[in-house]
């Protein structure tokens, strides 16, 4: 999609109204400080290095959780998608577990893994696992059987068919799973970091709440949102590069 400057008008106007209302005293500074104060806090915390530190901590947790959950989802989804035995053994428990709201598992996870790092990483991994699993599975299942047949008549072995037909065919679905996994991962991180942190964006926000520094709470929210936005943008770019063959399909 081409960038149109006109699309900036409403966001900028909203921020201006927010700033104006805060300056005029319509908004209580305790409830919602003006954007200028949020920006000031961002600048201050960047200079003293604490924002960078918390951000790094949060990104590390997210990356580790996404890696663990994503890899598990990919492997199990592929096993269930490719092999009938795998489907029979793996899919039923996963489908059942998927119905559990994974954020509701926090109390149980605290009992199991405590309130430390493992809790945050486990939550992110759980959030990432299901979208990756489901979309890997569906991507492989939805491949046009006729293409696999054609590849067979071209003399491709089973391994070659997986490489040339199944994997590329499942790619669009896999990218969808990745984007959903990132969204679920960030959400899980936010929830996980509300539990007893010593560092990370969530900790920064909880601490600021205790000292009534509302601008830092708002700043934390904005950073979370930017992380989600940036990761989605990166994934979309990667998707466009990898799936360039689809461009012709969309145009026609």
């Amino acid at each position: 999609m081409k960038f149109r400057p006109r699309r900036l008008i409403t966001p900028i106007a909203l921020i201006a109204v927010w700033e104006g209302a805060a300056q005029a005293g319509v908004l209580s500074p305790d409830k919602l400080p003006p954007p200028s104060k949020v920006a000031e806090a961002a600048w201050r915390l960047t200079l003293d290095g604490s924002l960078g530190l918390h951000l790094l901590e949060s990104v590390e947790r997210a990356a580790l959780g996404l890696l663990i959950g994503g890899l598990l989802g990919l492997v199990l989804g592929a096993v269930a998608g490719l092999f009938r035995n795998g489907d029979d053994l793996v899919d039923p428990p996963v489908q059942a577990a998927r119905m559990l709201p994974h954020l509701g598992l926090v109390p149980l996870l605290i009992i199991w893994v405590g309130i430390g790092e493992s809790l945050k990483v486990s939550l992110v991994a759980l959030g990432a696992f299901f979208p990756i699993y489901l979309n890997t599975y569906a991507g492989i299942r939805d491949i046009d059987e006729r293409l696999v047949e054609a590849a067979r008549t071209c003399g491709l072995t089973q391994l070659e068919r997986i490489r040339h037909v199944v994997l590329p065919g499942a790619m669009p679905s896999l990218f969808l799973g990745l984007r959903l996994a990132f969204a679920a991962g960030w959400l899980s991180l936010v929830v996980g970091e509300q539990v007893n942190g010593q560092s990370g964006l969530g900790f920064m926000m909880m601490e600021a709440r205790d000292f009534s520094q509302t601008e830092i709470v708002v700043l934390g929210l904005i950073v979370y949102a930017s992380l989600g936005l940036l990761s989605d943008l990166a994934l979309r770019t990667a998707e466009r590069r990898t799936l360039s063959w689809r461009r012709g399909l969309k145009a026609s």
Binding site: R146, L147, E149, A150, A151, R152, T153, C154, G155, L156, E160, H164, V165, P168, G169, M171, L243, W245, R246, R247, G248, L249, S252
Partner: protein, 239 residues
Amino acid sequence: MASRPEGVVTATGVRRVFGGTTVLDGVDLRIEKGEVVALLGESGSGKSTLLRILAGLDEEATGEFTTSGSTAVVFQEHRLLPWKRVAENVALGVRGGDAPDRTATALEEVGLADRGRAWPSELSGGQSQRVAFARALVREPDLLLLDEPFGALDALTRLKMQALFGRLRARHGFAALLVTHDVEEALLLSDRLLVLDRGRIAEEIEVDLGRPRAVDVPGFNELRRRLLALLHVPADPEE
């Protein structure tokens, strides 16, 4: 050992049952080297099933059947992989260092030498089907299995593709089994016609019309009428 030289296809007593329905009930079939055999039959008569068995795509058929030499298949749909460029599709499964050269030659033969870098989604239906033929040709097949390869094309493109098939056949001398429901197409392209009815080969007709042939050669219409009768289609509107 058979006393006759080995055919490209030798099949005896081929049977295939789907659920409780017998689709093929003992089919005997022999295709000689370089011979084009058209397989006709009503819808659901088992034509495509027989072709799929010979292509090795049906594991549940019984009976004896062997194909000798290399085999390639062209389906009604082009079945190109949308995520591979045209040349990569043609070269799929081709081994050896000369694969790029052979791919280029095959594309040239179907008149698409300059489209190797295109994506399948950028091609027209006729072009896609020509790529499917190139993908078959590059394997230098002794036997080409064709499952209604022109069936999904518009009438004008179909005529051009039939002519292309005739030229390729003359140049490469492959044998072919052409499954079709188009009587004229079968008469134009084949050396021998087989009519499949109720799971068996009901009729076998030699086509002695010379080559190249057109629909107005003498004898064409008699054969056409005879075939239509075998397929239970009235040849004249009054009947």
